[in-house]
């Protein structure tokens, strides 16, 4: 109840053809009016709960997506909107496309479609909100163990496009998950009572075809 009533959204265009972006904006219009559910498009990662990604990820946008994701406060979920964000779509074989959004951040909900339909999108966000709620409970536990005092600024990662190495995917940089593990090791080292770490929110991003996605959403492909 806490979070599900007001999911604030950050929408980022990885390298979309803008079809999905227009559909994302369409959900704000009087016809769909997602504000009914308390959804606001904030445009600011620090206020957002849900990261909506459209389009495949390319070398230039990968570090940006990672940074936006890292800046969002916990709990947070990622929704890949449209087939390109799910696995690269028709641009998959392009020289500059790394693949779907899950190449750089852990995706929680895959919403296929080209372009994604607003109805599908809304349902995707509603599903994401359910995950958000679970994550909040886990966060509560991990907060007690002191995970949230991790100081990002001290780990000043210089994130440029050149740094990006697709083979290592998102393990190469300090993601939330990596930081969690570090913190956990710290806690172990200081011999505090061990609290189960927050589980990875999404399965390892292998072959994230729409059919195999954990949260498949029925949607008509445009």
């Amino acid at each position: 109840m806490n979070i599900s009533k007001s999911p604030w959204v950050l929408h980022y265009d990885g390298s979309s053809c803008n079809g999905c972006d227009i559909e994302v904006l369409a959900t704000m219009t009087p016809l769909y009016d997602v504000e009914r559910f308390g959804i606001i498009n904030t445009g600011n990662p620090k206020h957002a709960d849900v990261l909506l990604l459209t389009g495949g990820v390319n070398a230039q946008t990968a570090p940006v997506i990672r940074q936006l994701y890292n800046m969002m406060p916990d709990p947070k979920v990622v929704v890949a909107c449209g087939i390109c964000a799910c696995d690269g779509g028709i641009f998959k074989e392009c020289y500059n496309i790394l693949g779907g959004a899950d190449k750089v951040v852990p995706v929680d909900v895959y919403v296929p479609g080209c372009a994604v339909r607003p109805e599908a999108l809304i349902e995707g966000v509603v599903k994401a909100v359910g995950i958000l709620e679970e994550k909040r409970k886990k966060l509560k536990e991990s907060m007690k163990a002191g995970y949230c005092t991790v100081d990002y600024s001290k780990m000043a990662v210089h994130m440029t496009a050149d740094d990006y190495d697709p083979s290592t995917q998102y393990d190469a940089v300090l993601t939330e998950e990596a930081l969690r593990q570090q913190a956990e090791e710290k806690i172990k080292a200081s011999a505090k009572p061990v609290v189960p770490a927050a589980k990875p929110a999404a399965p390892a991003p292998k072959a994230p075809a729409p059919a195999a996605a954990n949260n498949d959403v029925k949607g008509e492909n445009g």
Partner: protein, 289 residues
């Protein structure tokens, strides 16, 4: 007498967030209906703040939290002072101080959007500061006191003598309630050139504190609108509530009608409106005395 003052202040501290939150929710519903949408439930702002309080808080530095806390405390203090019947001038001085604290919170982050929002907020303060002081002076001219508890016991409501001040005040209320066309420093709408301006680098419970402070602020501002209409007749309180409703609706309407203006336009327009309406009113009052 002091007992009553404290009770009134406590009532404000307890009730203002409820009223302010509902006002904010109503505002969103009105806006949605004006745009032909259904809009969120009226209690949506409470859901939002509740969520923010339960989220992790990220900060850019630790001073930020201090400034935001001081901002909230002083905003509450200011409102309590007003509703307990304190000195109008002191209320406005304390108010501008609390605003400076919010601006400093944004400055301290060193983020480009925050600092841009902070500069714009300062400019907005420069725009409305003359009017807030003039309102206090207007009440003094009209009813001979700066004290709120004395002003509400006068036989004639202040609006009769200082309609120009009322117009000026309603005008700067657009800035104060962060409504378009003067919502330069932060915005409630998406996809803006300044992201979320002043509050860009605030998150979680810090942002919740800012939201709550704005509720308190809204109630204080609308209380001042009501003060224009209140006299020793109990029925006048009804008029005051009607006036508050009308003004609030008007602000929402203006918000939906006008696009944002540039800062220079804002400065010129607000200062001219203040000079023309409040200034002329002041001159006339002075001549009549």
């Amino acid at each position: 007498m002091y007992k009553w003052m404290i009770i009134k202040a406590l009532l404000y501290i307890l009730l203002a967030p409820v009223i302010g939150g509902l006002m904010s929710g109503l505002d969103r519903v009105f806006s949605a209906r004006m745009q032909g949408r259904q809009g969120p439930p009226v209690v949506q702002p409470f859901f939002d703040v509740n969520k923010l309080l339960h989220k992790q808080t990220t900060v850019v530095n630790s001073i930020q939290v201090l400034f935001v806390t001081v901002y909230l405390i002083f905003t509450i203090f200011t409102g309590a002072l007003f509703f307990a019947g304190g000195d109008m001038l002191l209320v406005f001085f304390a108010l501008s101080m609390s605003e400076v604290m919010l601006v400093l919170a944004a400055f301290s982050t060193n983020g480009p959007y925050s600092i841009m929002g902070a500069q714009r907020e300062l400019l907005q303060m420069m725009c409305y500061e003359p009017m807030t002081l003039l309102v206090a002076i207007g009440f003094y001219y009209a009813n001979g006191s700066f004290m709120v508890d004395e002003l509400i016991t006068k036989p004639v409501p202040a609006i009769v003598q200082i309609p120009g001040f009322f117009i000026g005040f309603v005008f700067i209320l657009i800035i104060k309630l962060r409504k378009s066309p003067f919502d330069l420093s932060t915005s409630h709408h998406m996809h803006q050139e300044m992201v979320k301006g002043l509050t860009t680098d605030l998150s979680g419970s810090n942002l919740a504190l800012v939201e709550i402070a704005e509720w308190y602020d809204t109630v204080l501002m609308l209380g001042i609108v009501g003060l224009f209409f209140i006299n020793n007749n109990p029925i006048s309180r009804l008029w005051a509530i009607i006036a508050i409703a009308v003004v609030f609706f008007l602000e929402t309407l203006i918000d939906n009608l006008f696009p944002r203006v540039k800062y220079k336009t804002m400065l010129i327009v607000t200062w001219s409106v203040i000079l023309v309406f409040a200034g002329t009113n002041l001159l006339i009052l002075n001549v009549l005395k």
